[in-house]
Symmetry: C2
Subunit: 437 residues, 2 copies
């Protein structure tokens, strides 16, 4: 490469830089979720970004494989970047079971990578926030994940949500009754499309797969009735109350009623989570003000996942928040808050000789809990004020040779253009605090 040939500062398609405003939003969002998780007694973990390909893909195969970033490292190891936080968690549990004990509640906020098509606003690098309870197959754990979905979304400002749940076992029993086990993948895909293409087109699609009579049966099955109790009665009528999932749905929905929060939840048999590895209850959640962006937090019960790595039975239930989709939604709904935390006071730079003094003033302000920064060099005041304006800094400190010699400084309110002269250090801090209030 010749020295004068620049490299274009581009990044691969589907990857993104996060500028301060957006990264502040993401950090704030994760921090709010962390506070919720801590209230629920969930503990944080972390796992490597790179795992052995065998560990990540041993089971997955097919559809997933093509999307995985997989390569051979220097040591000849077949490795891959994680594509979700669930498979690494299953591996983690098999490896650390005796250390963490059961039941174990974990949360994990981290990036995952999928080399999928970048159309339709999908990214190849995105952040997920997962929370799971493992070591119990109880209704209580299922309910707790539902509650946590609601609390998490509420903490982010989304109070009006519709969290929808169903049971994969009930759905499978229904398909078995229709003799459609073999077409289950196609049926699941058709149902997943319903929200987008509408009931009539779904009926046509299902008729092609399973015939018009079964298409009608399936649409009857997945319809949400006027109350959870009516939906449950219908499902019970179709598959019989001997199906384990029926009891689970009854138990969880009656607890939601009892807790007087049933309004945020709906038993919705059309929720299946497509091809995911769920075996019991499944969850999706929609924002009341933006239902069209799809589910922002989804999950379910997976009773067989860790069986790839251990003979110990490790039932689990959890959900995952799609942070990127949620951030897009929050921006659309104006829930993004005040933007990045920014310096509140700019100490102007007038004289090289006063370098130490400027930083002393800034340190004194920081010591009082006020964000402060020193403009880093002597430039025209207009340039320094323009910097404050661009960064939204409301106050400036001015200190020239004479003021420094007298041990004082001037505080300027850049909003009102008021000046407060001759302030001693303690008065400066007090005045700044008063003006920032």
């Amino acid at each position: 490469m010749r020295n004068d040939e620049l490299i274009e500062p581009r990044i691969p398609k589907g990857f993104r830089d996060f500028l301060p405003e957006k990264e502040s939003l993401r950090l704030g969002l994760v921090r709010k979720l962390q506070a919720v998780f801590e209230r629920f007694g969930f503990l944080p973990i972390d796992t490597p970004v790179l795992e052995f390909a065998e560990v990540l893909l041993g089971k997955g195969g097919g559809e997933t494989d093509k999307e995985v970033y997989r390569f051979t490292d220097h040591g000849g190891r077949d490795v891959a970047m994680r594509f979700d936080l669930t498979v690494p968690f299953a591996r983690f549990m098999a490896a650390h079971l005796s250390e963490v004990g059961l039941p174990f509640r974990r949360w994990h906020a981290a990036k995952v990578w999928r080399g999928e098509n970048t159309q339709r606003g999908r990214y190849r690098e995105f952040m997920q926030v997962d929370f799971d309870i493992v070591g119990t197959d109880s209704a209580s754990a299922d309910l707790e994940i539902l509650l946590l979905m609601k609390e998490s979304l509420a903490a982010l400002g989304a109070e009006r949500v519709s969290i929808r749940y169903a049971h994969r076992g009930v759905f499978n029993a229904f398909l078995a009754r229709l003799g459609l086990e073999k077409a289950s993948v196609d049926v699941l895909r058709a149902i997943d499309k319903q929200r987008k293409i509408g009931t009539e087109k779904t009926r046509e699609l299902l008729a092609l797969i399973a015939g018009p009579s079964h298409a009608r049966d399936i649409l009857d099955f997945i319809r949400v009735e006027q109350t959870p109790a009516l939906t449950l009665t219908k499902l019970t009528g179709i598959v019989g109350d001997g199906v384990e999932g029926i009891q689970r749905l009854a138990h969880v929905s009656s607890a939601l009623e009892q807790m007087d929060i049933a309004g945020s939840f709906a038993l919705d048999p059309s929720i299946t989570r497509g091809l995911d590895y769920y075996t019991g209850m499944v969850f999706e959640s929609f924002l009341g003000d933006l239902p069209d962006i799809g589910s922002v937090c989804s999950g379910g019960r997976y009773n067989e996942l860790a069986s790839l790595y251990t003979k110990q039975h490790l039932p689990g239930v959890g959900a995952s928040i799609g942070v990127d989709r949620l951030m897009a939604a929050m921006e659309e709904l104006g829930l993004t808050g005040a933007g990045p935390a920014q310096g509140s006071v700019l100490v102007l730079f007038l004289e090289d000789r006063l370098l130490g003094r400027y930083h002393e003033i800034a340190q004194a302000l920081r010591g009082a809990g006020i964000a402060a920064e020193v403009y880093p060099e002597k430039k025209k005041l207009a340039v320094q004020f323009a910097y404050a304006e661009k960064k939204g800094i409301p106050l400036a400190v001015v200190c020239g040779e004479e003021e420094a010699a007298a041990g004082v400084a001037t505080l300027k309110d850049l909003r009102s253009r008021e000046s407060f002269e001759g302030l001693k250090p303690a008065d400066l801090t007090g005045k700044a605090r008063e003006l920032l209030r």
Copy 2:
């Protein structure tokens, strides 16, 4: 693979799982640093983990290349995982200069990957926390990074630190005087070893490279004198005060004196940062109580880095905290704090029928700011109490059929074994708060 063949849940060498205690420590550490950065007006950014190999390695070459995780993705793109946070930041600045404006202060806490030898406690996946000021070549920015190094370490509990600084330009001028420009890499390596092998062995090494007379000159040059002023006088005597770095060192060290914090800092000409890309001041920092673990926060001024991507002159200065080394040090010094945030109240599970009630009780506690969790299923009380003990939960709520019917519950203090019976919801919350105080 046969179904009954388990996959070993192992992870590649040099990679680690973080269990809750350690991950809580790491999250807490990053959060404390974030608070410091915000007080200094630094803004968070994020960049992709995968970049085009050309972008990351265009310049680096040689030594770095072998350590980089680099591969061809599905689309035939030559990509690599970032090995530090500085090169991506240079690329970020070239791409987003007009959006962020100058001067720009950024921090970034994220993982980086290097496939290096895992001996000597090195990891292949580790977290760095970087902070930089770009767009100015001023002494003020150099000083600010030094202050921020001190404040960052103090926020993590390390009050006794020795932050050492020097100037690469002064060192280069010195080597030029000796006619040793061509041997500079070997000389830098020998000096870097001094802390480990001692002065005499370093003298022998330098004598082999540059002859005994120059070895003596170099050891004279890098020796720390009794005061920064004396060290500076010596350096000035050797290279002359026409060298730009001499003025910079004088300016920064006098400001540190003026701010009355010079005790935490030392002008130390033996600090060179080896082969790094620094062009001006260089920094390292050592813990007063654990100097042997080496520098826990290092950095310097790099005035040429972004020139790979843009013709715009983008001077910068920054430092990087090695979070893993620091965590090891904090553990050794007992500075790790109280461990993971844990549930403070366990609601025992006695009756399946009371599922909703148990979660109502937990929700009421959480609403009052008290972490609470429900034991997820009906098990022997001994098992539930053992869980509370393992997790360090001090309080338990007991509520059976009769109590539920009467709208009350019992609170047990698992430390004192005291019981408080017949508590209405509001009293339960109040009592729990009182006992947790």
